[in-house]
């Protein structure tokens, strides 16, 4: 059956469409209140809840990197009109799940997509409670985050509890992260940069009790990437000295870097220090080519932040962490664990987009 319809391209949920001016633009300053702002911002067009981590089997020490992201995309602004079918696509949710075995170097991924519908795909507007076909982010009363996902097709499941070790970080300017020079080309962005993690991971029928550290982001906004941006390279790093570093560069079509590129250094005490594009240099020094998509991704970066005394090399732990998410968000990108060495050691996750196809006009 699938082959009959194989030539119909329908997915591309995040492809561009004429904008409705009523979608809220994020501008600084922003007033944030929690737990409400952990929930969905339905007046914004795009939103995602993203968690990554590196965990190890408590018994044999086998290490795993994992990622779960649930995206929300508003298709129609405002509440439904009287008589609108409940199945009318007002919001779409998409999800990406990936677990990489750092011992064997194998990556397993899964994806989901579904329009908002009670019980099946929804995000609370008052607290962190996001569900997509059984995949789940839920913040308990004690501020621990439960992350659950299961994919029967690939025998893959996560059931983790993430406990923040530091206060919530407001990224960018008080929680407003700029993505471009245009007015409102920003997003609300908050993170828990270091979360003690425990629970189980199951792959190929083997369930493992694991422990480790994770990172959680929540970002929302209504802007798109500027027309001359082809993609971004993003890192969330937990440094060995107890600090965390989030840094990204927005790559222009001419090979340059957009001025809106930035970062945040989170101190041991949880204090956040904004890093502007002029303050750092992120340069790729090695590449890896995907045999599936043909895309050539950076495999090693040099990161220098002179004002903070950071001079490190960021290197992918497993080169092949390419995620083909065309059936949900219409994208192919790289997302995987990285290690840090140099002036300070560390580990974390990296996200490299726009190498298989330009991300212009997308998220």
């Amino acid at each position: 059956m699938k082959t009959i319809f194989a030539s119909i391209a329908l997915i591309g949920a995040f492809a561009t469409a004429p904008e409705d001016a009523r979608w809220r633009k994020i501008t600084a300053p922003i007033e944030l209140a929690f737990p409400r702002d952990h929930g969905s911002h339905e007046d914004c067009r795009t939103e995602w809840w993203y968690a990554t981590g590196i965990v190890a089997d408590v018994d044999d020490g086998a290490r795993f990197g994992w990622q779960l992201t649930i995206f929300r995309r508003g298709l129609q602004f405002g509440p439904p009109a009287f008589g609108d079918p409940a199945l009318a696509p007002r919001q779409v949710f998409a999800g990406h799940l990936a677990v990489v075995d750092l011992t064997t170097g194998t990556l397993v991924t899964a994806e989901r997509v579904r329009r908002a519908f009670q019980g099946l795909a929804y995000a609370s507007t008052s607290r962190l409670d996001v569900v997509l076909e059984g995949w789940k982010f839920a913040l308990d009363a004690d501020d621990t985050l439960r992350v659950r996902a299961l994919d029967r097709t690939n025998d893959l499941s996560l059931d983790l509890v993430l406990a923040p070790e530091k206060a919530l970080v407001l990224q960018g300017n008080g929680g407003v992260s700029t993505k471009g020079p245009e007015y409102g080309n920003s997003s609300g962005y908050v993170s828990w940069t270091r979360m003690r993690t425990s629970g189980t991971i199951e792959r190929s029928g083997v369930k493992r009790r694991v422990e480790g550290e994770s990172w959680f982001d929540h970002e929302w906004g209504s802007s798109q990437l500027a027309a001359d941006v082809v993609g971004w390279d993003w890192f969330g790093l937990r440094l060995d000295d107890g600090r965390e570093l989030m840094i990204y560069r927005l790559r222009r079509t001419d090979g340059g870097v957009l001025e809106a590129s930035s970062g945040t250094l989170v101190g041991v005490d949880g204090s956040a220090q904004h890093i502007r594009s002029a303050d750092f240099a992120l340069v790729d020094t090695n590449t890896w080519k995907s045999s599936r998509s043909g895309a050539q991704y950076p495999a090693r970066f040099s990161l220098k932040v002179p004002t903070l005394g950071i001079d490190v090399v960021i290197e992918t732990e497993i080169p092949d962490c390419e995620i083909d998410a065309r059936a949900s968000t219409g994208t192919i990108y790289w997302e995987g664990p990285v290690k840090v060495r140099g002036s300070v050691g560390g580990s974390g996750y990296g996200e490299l987009t726009g190498y298989a196809a330009p991300m212009t006009g997308k998220l």
């Binding site: 699938k2 329908l10 469409a17 298709l75 079918p85 409940a86 009318a88 099946l120 059984g134």
Partner: protein, 844 residues
């Protein structure tokens, strides 16, 4: 030599007769093959539709009247184990194609049937655009036929509303007829177009990974609301197939009758050929040919006729099934709402079956001629052969066989339906025909005895009787052939006449409105879907309209059976009455009673199927809601056979709030208002709704025209039967004239004039015709009675008033007798022209 003497030469000598026989078999085989072809196309359309469109779904949640979309939420705990796919499926008229199309509403985001591949992702239409603007995905076949491409518009009529959809993508349909006429839209768009607010046709469950469908099914059953069915997609197909199979059986039976007529034709031809070649056969015996050799040649001729007739019949059947399929679609669309167009493909099994049928019927028909051939004495004995009456023992045996067969037929007529089909009753009809055939020997024998009675009967009549009696077996054959043909013709006339009379009466007593507004018709003449609620509002607000009656239809479950469920305002309808009541009472009274007590009316088919009676409480399930009411009346409805419960519109709309009317009837203030109201409605609907506005005479004429069209085939069968009867009589008379030529010569020698010879043969022909037609009519009348009171009731659950077509019977008997007498002039001329001297010399 035997082959040449008995087969090749006669065929060369009488090619027209041979061709007519081949055509007779071919016609029978063709009607069976075309019926099977058309119904199997419909069945495969159903199966293919279910199979292709259910994709990888192992399970589905369905409910009579549709599945509330809230069931998706109830099933959400299964989301990790199964992909949950909401589906709306219905039919619409595509004005671009002037044909009905299947509209398939799915979740375009989630449905794996619509997954994109890497090669085309770049050209994907933005999903927002696809979901927010009325867009459709069509097959390449559809696009070719409608001459549309991506970005063009296609036009549909749904619920009488003209809808334009932009073609967003085109997919390859492959060889599938189902996909060729498929319009795919988003599920929410389909809900909006078909007025299914919050309602789905079904929810499909595709297991993820290695999840067992058994376990999934058990969990789904625990989660869904009461009234929801969790089953395999094939269950749905099977449910529809049962309806189609019943239709197929009835059509195949009708076709079988024409094959039987073909068989009679073969038997007549073979019997005639044996009779006409008695002397040749006798000579062959005298020359040393064995009976086995002669028998083999006769069977070979039958085989030849069967194979040729079968092959020709298969070809004709294949061609005619292409025309028949439209009729099947029309009927099926009333049985299975989402039956879409289908295509006929050549089925090898049907081809072999057709040829086998032709051969079997021909060989079976050859049995008696073979016996005749085997009994023929050698030429020496032939000369001394003298006519003999049946012995008392043989007469008693023949009459006993006829009586026994009639009794067996009677017992079979009393049997209930087997597997829901009137198999026993139809078998009884065949046995009764056999009894009729067995009776003709004694009857012809009786004619001979009558000739010997010293009454003042004209000599020519006595001579004719004696002549027929002398060739008793041949004459009995001819009379039997006429009898069977006439019996079948009368049976069909009785059934159709009774049915038509009942329908006319039902229509007269049931159709009361001044005007009815309903959706446009598809290619097959069947209205496609209902009308938007706004249509009823417009009708109601039109000056001159005093009463508006929107009529709603959905489905429900009675136990495990799917039935029809409808609603109409009892308060409004009680003033003008409803469909004719089964007990003949005034429907207004029953409606009034139902309105006051909150009861319901039920259809006659339901009463027969489930034993519903007035005064009983009936509990049905509508969309998971239990609905229990008292039955206040049983009404006649010849448009449905599943069983139907008619409730007050208030109850109906509470249970099925999103239903749109199937049609809207209205009454005007005065008859003079009818035309102005019609004009006002036309103006109000112009450009907004595509509807038909029919007045009472048009509605009645339309119903009867559909009826007549449905039974057109029976007229053809009657004509074929009459032709068979005439051919049989002609063949036998030629044989008898040839056989009795010495007698005729002798009569001429002793002074019988040519006119008297003509009269003698004509009387023989007339006698055969009267004998055949008279007893055939009686037998046909009995079979007709069984068709009306047993077969019809067991097939459809409708009561039809038996109406003996006396005029038709009298006309047919008169026609057959006259035609036979007239046809007798040909052999009479042959007899009169024969040289008396040669005949006498030849006879020694």
């Amino acid at each position: 030599m035997i082959q040449s003497a008995l087969f090749t030469r006669p065929v060369a000598k009488h090619p027209v007769r041979f061709l007519a026989t081949v055509l007779g078999i071919a016609a029978g085989v063709a009607s069976v093959v075309s019926t099977l072809g058309a119904s199997s196309a419909a069945l495969s359309s159903l199966r293919e539709g279910v199979g292709l469109l259910s994709g990888r779904a192992a399970l589905e949640v369905t409910a009579a009247g549709g599945v509330p979309e809230s069931e998706l939420t109830r099933l959400a705990p299964l989301a990790l184990d199964a992909l949950l796919l909401p589906v709306v499926e219905d039919v619409a008229k595509c004005t671009t194609l002037s044909d009905t199309v299947r509209v398939f509403g799915v979740d375009l985001l989630t449905d794996p049937r619509f997954a994109a591949d890497s090669a085309t992702i770049a050209t994907a239409p933005p999903i927002e655009e696809l979901l927010s603007t009325p867009s459709a995905i069509v097959s390449d076949e559809f696009a070719r036929d409608a001459r549309v491409g991506v970005g063009d518009s296609i036009h549909l009529t749904i619920m009488a509303k003209p809808i334009s959809l932009r073609v967003a993508a085109i997919f390859p349909a492959g060889p599938s007829a189902v996909l060729g006429r498929l319009v795919v839209v988003d599920v929410s768009v389909a809900q909006r177009f078909f007025g299914r607010d919050g309602n789905l046709s079904r929810i499909e469950l595709v297991p993820r990974g290695s999840v067992s469908s058994t376990a999934l099914s058990e969990r789904a059953r625990e989660l869904v609301s009461r009234g929801m069915q969790v089953g395999r997609p094939t269950d749905r197909a099977e449910e529809s197939e049962t309806l189609v199979r019943s239709l197929e059986f009835n059509l195949a039976t009708m076709s079988g009758i024409s094959l039987l007529v073909g068989g009679v034709l073969v038997a007549t031809t073979l019997a005639t050929s044996v009779v006409q070649r008695r002397r040749t056969i006798a000579l062959l015996y005298a020359l040393g040919a064995s009976r086995g050799q002669v028998v083999r040649v006769i069977f070979a001729e039958a085989l030849f006729l069967g194979v040729f007739g079968g092959i020709l019949g298969v070809a004709l059947g294949y061609v005619s099934s292409r025309f028949m399929v439209d009729g099947m679609r029309a009927t099926l669309s009333t049985l299975v709402s989402t039956t879409a167009p289908t295509a006929i493909s050549f089925d090898e099994t049907h081809a072999w079956l057709g040829i086998a049928l032709g051969v079997v019927v021909s060989l079976a028909a050859a049995v008696l001629p073979v016996l005749e051939g085997a009994r023929t004495p050698p030429i020496q004995a032939l000369r001394g052969e003298t006519p003999r009456f049946l012995s008392a023992r043989a007469l008693a045996l023949a009459l006993s066989i006829a009586t026994l067969l009639a009794l067996v037929a009677y017992v079979l007529f009393l049997q209930p339906a087997w597997y829901g089909l009137p198999i026993a009753a139809l078998a009884g009809a065949l046995v009764l025909l056999a009894a009729l055939l067995a009776l003709y020997g004694p009857l012809v024998d009786g004619l001979g005895r009558f000739a010997g009675v010293r009454f003042s009967v004209p000599a020519v009549v006595r001579l004719a009787c004696a002549g027929l009696s002398a060739g008793r077996r041949r004459a009995a054959w001819a009379a039997g052939a006429v009898g069977v043909a006439v019996a079948l013709s009368i049976a069909i006339a009785t059934m159709v006449g009774s049915f038509r009379g009942t329908v006319v009466d039902w229509v007269e007593r049931s159709i009361h409105p001044d005007l009815a507004v309903r959706g446009v018709r598809g290619k097959t003449g069947v209205p496609v879907g209902g009308v938007d609620r706004e249509v009823a509002a417009i009708v109601s607000a039109t000056p001159g309209v005093v009463d508006t009656y929107p009529y709603f239809v959905s489905s429900a479950r009675f136990g495990d059976e799917r039935i029809g469920f409808g609603g109409v305002s009892f308060e409004a309808v009680r003033k003008r009455g409803w469909s004719a009541m089964l007990d003949g009472s005034d429907s207004s009274v029953a409606i009034e009673r139902a309105w006051k007590s909150g009861g319901v009316l039920v259809s006659e088919a339901g009463a027969h199927r489930f034993g519903w009676k007035v005064g009983d409480q009936i509990a049905i399930d509508v969309r998971g809601q239990q609905f229990e009411r008292a039955i206040e009346g049983v009404y006649m409805d010849h448009s449905e056979s599943r069983g139907f419960v008619l409730a007050d519109a208030g109850d109906f709309e509470r249970l099925v709030p999103d239903a749109d009317p199937l049609f809207v009837e209205l009454n005007c203030r005065t008859p003079a208002d009818i035309e102005p109201v019609r004009s006002a409605l036309r103006a109000a609907f112009a450009g907004r709704f595509e509807v038909e506005i029919n007045d009472m005479p048009t509605m009645r004429a339309s119903i009867l025209s559909v009826f007549d069209r449905t039974f057109e085939i029976t007229r053809a069968l009657q004509i074929v039967s009459a032709i068979v009867a005439i051919i049989a009589v002609l063949s036998v008379l030629f044989a008898l004239v040839s056989e009795r030529r010495a007698d005729i010569a002798l009569l001429s020698a002793i002074g019988m004039s040519s006119l008297e010879v003509h009269a003698l043969v004509a009387v023989q022909a007339g006698l055969l015709g009267v004998l055949g037609a008279g007893f055939g009519s009686a037998c046909g009348l009995v079979i007709g009675y069984v068709l009306v009171t047993v077969v019809n009731l067991q097939s459809f659950g409708w009561t039809i008033a038996f109406d003996a077509p006396w005029i038709a019977i009298a006309s047919l008997v008169g026609f057959v007798a006259a035609a036979c007498t007239l046809a007798g002039t040909l052999p009479a001329r042959a007899a009169a022209q024969r040289s008396m001297r040669d005949a006498l010399r030849e006879d020694g």
